[in-house]
């Protein structure tokens, strides 16, 4: 007999926390990598357990609904595959001496703390706890970005730290303003910070204060989503940190910040007198897409290239949610999941490529499909998927998005298509230069783990051809909720 209010949600927080403590103590890297994988696997099981429909008891500080289940599942899944990739990637870094054993223990422990923080941000039924978790997630990624201690890595970490802190501070001010708006209606104390209560009473809040709060929240959490003009930390942080962290940053952490924005958008939508948050999100989204599409052309570093591509895709997703409505929100959600899977697969490939040739420079990279067929073709499939060619999942979501934009804002649809085509051209140009032709200089052998990459790509391909009805149903529900 399962007691009422039982749910696997607390396990999503406890498993990573326990694993973080254990990993801080375990010295051997092979063993630690296995514990990391095992903990991520258990977390995934707990996330799948949420599908059973058992919800945490109301008032337990944790909230599970249709919206965050999608995020939690993607989070746990990519965390697991990245931990598998990380085992072989870090193994190589140890052999080449870029990382020492202390750094390694630190790395594994931080990986699990990051998972804890991200899950907590998604589960917390409290805007204050959401903010605290995003802060923890930022701090852990900052130290991971600076892990190699090179000048460039420290510069990237410092920049990320300062910009991230400013973003966090703005989000905090927005959070206080939301509380101030809720206070006259809901009174002192915790209920005025709980999502469940806030949404219920939002109609009575002072609209002017809510508007101001949303501007701060969009700027604050938008910094973490990587929206232009607050994106400056993102390319550096992706390029200089260990590649598993780039994969987690692009695939997961950006989504967490987006989740915060979406929750506050729901709050705004529940108040009829408050301004519509949609146009602001559309403007920032489209701006990010166009800016990143142009920036893609002049890249020389492959991790930086795909970091700009992440800005581009987060722009598309923010734009889709900004348009709103069942169709565009559906497209946004699908695009988010597909982007997480594809982009992390690309980073898995790029991480091994950089190890194989000892450099991230694209100029040094030639003929990968000839010299390293498994990696090269994987990267090729990843690039074809990310630029939105059929039959991959991103084509589906972009197609739905464009058609719904044509219906509602025909002119913006033109801009959207131009942005997508520009990005397409840039990625194909850089991609074909790296993948085809005569192989470049001599390379070192690397034990690559190809399973996570091909697993992700297979999922993206499947989603482009056939999405199982239960998933479509679930996404429809969330899209209806987001409005």
């Amino acid at each position: 007999m399962i007691p009422a209010g039982f749910s696997t949600a607390p396990a999503l927080l406890l498993i990573p926390l326990v694993a973080a403590v254990v990993l801080a103590l375990v010295p051997g890297y092979r063993f630690a990598a296995r514990i990391n994988i095992a903990a991520s696997f258990l977390t995934l099981l707990a996330a799948v357990g949420l599908l059973s429909g058992l919800r945490p008891a109301p008032g337990s500080m944790l909230l599970v609904d249709d919206l965050n289940i999608v995020f939690l599942l993607v989070n746990a899944f990519v965390a697991l595959t990245t931990s598998i990739f990380s085992a072989s990637y870090i193994g190589h870094e140890i052999e080449t001496g870029r990382l020492n054993r202390t750094g390694l223990r630190f790395y594994h422990s931080m990986y699990q703390i990051l998972m804890f923080a991200m899950n907590f941000a998604l589960l917390a039924d409290n805007i204050g706890l959401l903010w605290v978790s995003v802060e923890i997630a930022t701090l852990t990624t900052v130290v991971m970005v600076g892990l190699y201690r090179t000048h460039a890595a420290l510069e990237a970490a410092w920049k990320y730290f300062i910009l991230g802190s400013v973003g966090i501070a703005l989000a905090m001010f927005g959070t206080i303003l939301v509380y101030m708006a809720a206070h006259p209606v809901m009174g002192d104390g915790a209920p005025a910070m709980m999502w469940t209560g806030l949404i219920e009473h939002a109609a009575e809040f002072d609209p002017a204060l809510l508007n101001l709060a949303f501007v701060f929240l969009l700027l604050g959490y938008g910094t973490k989503v990587g929206l232009v003009p607050l994106h400056a930390w993102l390319p550096d942080a992706h390029a200089e940190g260990p590649t598993p962290i780039s994969a987690v940053l692009s695939g997961l952490l950006l989504n967490i910040a987006l989740y915060a924005v979406l929750r506050f958008k729901l709050l705004m939508a529940a108040n009829e007198e408050a301004i519509a948050p949609g146009p602001m999100m559309m403007a920032m989204g489209l701006g990010s897409l166009l800016f990143a599409a142009f920036m893609l052309y002049r890249r020389r570093d492959m991790k930086r290239l795909f970091a700009y591509s992440s800005i581009e895709h987060m722009g598309i997703i923010t734009f889709a949610f900004g348009i709103g409505g069942p169709l565009a929100s559906f497209a946004g959600l699908l695009h988010m999941v597909m982007h997480s899977l594809t982009k992390s697969a690309i980073f898995f490939a790029v991480g091994h490529v950089a190890q194989v040739q000892g450099s991230q420079s694209m100029a040094d990279t030639r003929g990968l499909t000839v010299s390293h067929p498994a990696l090269g073709w994987g990267l090729l499939i990843g690039i074809l998927a990310i630029v939105g060619l059929p039959p991959f999942g991103i084509f589906m979501s972009e197609f739905v998005l464009i058609s719904s934009t044509i219906e509602t804002h025909p002119l913006l649809a033109v801009v959207l298509v131009i942005g997508l085509l520009l990005a397409f051209g840039a990625l194909i140009r850089h991609g074909s230069a790296m993948l085809f032709g005569e192989p470049g200089k001599k390379t070192v052998p690397v034990k690559a783990s190809l399973v996570p990459m091909y697993l992700h790509l297979a999922l993206v391909l499947t989603a482009g051809i056939f999405v199982p009805p239960p998933i479509v149903e679930a996404f429809r529900n969330v899209a209806a909720m987001l409005g």
Partner: protein, 218 residues
Amino acid sequence: MPGYDIAHALAGGLVLISLLLLYQDRLYALLNMYAMHALVLALAVAWQAHIQESPHLYVTAAIALVFKAIIIPMTLHRIIQRLGIRRQIEKVFGVGLTMLAGIGLIALSIVVMLKVTPDFDPLAREDLAFALSVILLGLLLMVTRRNAVSQVVGFMALENGLVLAAVGARGMPLVVEFSVAFSILIALIVIGLFLFRIRERFDTVDVSALDQHRGERQ
């Protein structure tokens, strides 16, 4: 409302000290001024704790007094000595321009905050207007300085503004937790500053050096 005058004077004092932070051109003077900033914050928070009759806010006041007004400035002082950091503060714009921008930001925050909160009790809304000014002045300090240490001071001033806002929001839960979380964040920044020996800010103005780091131009 009892105690209105004093709360008002202390919050206003915080804004004035933020302006004073803007025109310091020696690092040590900047640190002393920041200690003053934190001291006034501690007084403002303690006064709010008194008039709101919420004793837990005294914890926040104590953190501001001990950690921010004493420990952090002293530690930064030592770090500047140990690392041999240049004591001159490099500014992006001249003092006059920065001060004008600062005054503009104060006007902006007062106009914005007072306009959106006409029905609030006057203490809370003016507190919020002052808090937003302190936050924006902190941001201004961060973007107009090139030294890492003065950027950190800018961030800490910004954070003091957040504490002022959180304390002014009557009955807000987690305020103490927030101030602890921010103190940890600041402690980590300062430790990072020392561990990684960040002497100056990485000079982003010299574009050629930057591109080299980024691997975008050979």
